[in-house]
Symmetry: C2
Subunit: 370 residues, 2 copies
């Protein structure tokens, strides 16, 4: 499969992944960890997954100033011009639209695709096939989402309802988006999977940069103007700083789903391309355990090998980040995350509750461990 000449990928690398605490931290967020045991961080794996599509040097990473060094260490080949540093996190619209606006000034006809830095995909061929089709639809003027064919009635993801075929030449599977729906109840999720025209919203959006920015301008004109103002001076180091200082604090925090995708769908500008590949946002330790145990219960996965793990009648996952001996006896579906300054003990069934623990840690005056 050839690279796509006019395509540029954007990787927003933010988000603490608080349900993965104490592995994921403010200073070492989820995308900087190897959660799959592949030997690569999720960020590096995302970068490597995209390079065959875009060609070398055509990926832009948007991240916080605090993560600059870590990102550069992960992707030494990343040029300075391809790192957008956020003064502070402003949600996905700013991250993606600012990158798109900067890229459009460099390349007016560029097609951009945004891909989270911390998702897991193994079937890269099928991934590339879907992206290539989405780029074709984007070239025709649509904003294309990639929707994952559900393998189970998951309640942790939003869904995209596919409507009529869009009739784009070279993108036979692209369908007009009928509706975006929020995370459903278990009952509703079962219905979605049965009906067959609902796909998981994996947050992958591919569009011509000008189309994306035009849609944003319709829905959020003030934010759009601020982003364009920043983009206009972004490649002039002397003018960028003052503009960031002045404009950044005013930037609205809004997810791109609300500022662009849903309004564009309502205007008939949005298509979805079904992605027939495995995909996981690895949102909690239950997902991490599942990835490592290949979905089979009854096994004990060990992530990290700093210490010695001794298990007796135990299953689930042990994350070993200290050099201690960890012994787990007689607990099934356990989650043990052992780091130098914090320990989490729970079960996969309670993995979603870890977020509340993070809040409690903050309230306990131990925010430095977050």
């Amino acid at each position: 499969m050839a690279t796509i000449d006019d395509f540029y990928s954007i990787i927003p690398a933010g988000g603490a992944g608080s349900r993965l605490w104490p592995l994921s931290r403010a200073d070492a967020p989820k995308f900087l960890h190897d959660l799959t045991g592949s030997g690569k961080t999720l960020l590096r794996a995302t970068f490597d997954r995209l390079s065959p599509l875009t060609g070398a040097g055509r990926t832009m990473v948007v991240t916080g100033r605090a993560h600059r060094a870590a990102v550069e260490a992960q992707i030494p080949e990343l040029e300075d011009a391809n790192i957008v540093l956020e003064a502070d996190p402003r949600d996905s619209t700013v991250a993606i639209a600012l990158a798109a606006a900067v890229l459009r000034r460099r390349e007016p006809d560029v097609i951009v695709g945004s891909f989270a830095a911390d998702h897991v995909i193994h079937d890269e061929r099928a991934f590339r096939r879907a992206v290539t089709e989405a780029v074709t639809a984007a070239r025709a003027g649509y904003i294309a989402a990639i929707g994952i064919t559900p393998t189970e009635p998951a309640i942790g993801f939003g869904y995209i309802r596919a409507g009529e075929p869009a009739g784009v030449e070279g993108a036979p599977n692209a369908a007009l988006v009928q509706q975006f729906v929020e995370k459903p109840s278990a009952q509703v999720a079962r219905r979605y999977v049965e009906e067959g025209d609902y796909l998981w919203n994996a947050g992958m959006f591919i569009a011509r940069a000008d189309v994306l920015l035009e849609e944003l301008a319709k829905e959020e004109p003030a934010l759009s103007a601020q982003i364009e103002e920043l983009a206009a001076v972004w490649d002039e180091p002397g003018r960028r700083g003052p503009a960031v200082d002045r404009l950044w604090p005013q930037l609205k925090k809004i997810a791109i789903d609300y500022s662009v995708a849903e309004p564009a769908a309502a205007r008939g500008r949005m298509v979805v391309v079904p992605g027939d590949f495995d995909w996981d946002d690895v949102g909690d330790f239950s997902a991490v355990a599942k990835l490592h145990n290949n979905g089979r219960r009854g096994r004990l996965a060990i992530l990290g090998s700093q210490g010695t793990v001794i298990a007796d009648s135990a299953s689930g996952i042990v994350v070993s980040q200290s050099n201690r001996i960890i012994s787990v006896v007689g607990i099934h579906d356990v989650v043990v995350v052992d780091t130098p300054d914090a320990l989490l003990v729970t079960t996969t069934d309670n993995a979603q509750r870890v977020k509340q623990v993070v809040d409690a840690v903050r309230r306990s005056g131990n925010a430095d461990a977050l």
Copy 2:
């Protein structure tokens, strides 16, 4: 209650307490820990429980050479002459009989009582009442055990079956021991408790030193002779060392139950005095949790306060010996023992299996963590 002039207590302070790993270690065994939250180690609490009975300066501690400094730190008032240091552990007969033989050379008519360094008793008045009665029976020539009135059909203890009253003046509750029985099955334990004449064997033996040694000589003449040979030179520093070097490696490892108590019972020389007090040998983390939660389930006890413990829907016990944040979410009857170099995660139901973990740690080449 007055002190008993001719009484001397012996505290064998040994035993790694491997079911309490990684809290209890070779270099910090169970008796050096405060398992009750009283602020005192079990050894210190045992010493303090006995002092009102014996009077000051009349307690002898038998321990390993490695623990000398720790024992002295716990009991600064302990005179050198009252520490018997074992070259290596030789089981309870050597520990108790050697102390008794040394004391008899100093005080021919002394009555000795042996009390484990790592048991927990709260009702000290009832304890002193039972010991006082046992001393009276001992003065009459019997070896007296204190048997604990069972509160439940425990399967973790041996039992003593009480027979006919011994008819000792001043010791109205002392009964001839009909039988010692090993740890029973649950069914047998229930029968014992129903029948009412079975008491828990708490390993507390009170006897005239000469009677104890005489009974030992009948059953284990070789061991008895070696112990007497050691005792003869014990208080002569120049001669003690060579005797220990020569004799210690030959000393038979045998529990005093087999070398003295059971044979003496068969000869009608053994009585049991019922002890109507709470008693626990705190054999595993389930017992530690029970002690702290006052037997109530559904609570989470926290032992040690080095770190911050954050719990959500958790019960059981957390032992915090590192300065880390420990978060426990959604696990009931959990046992988390967090130490600087080793972590244990299990449940109270599996507490007995910790012993096997210790074996596995040894096999894994991490014996320095034991």
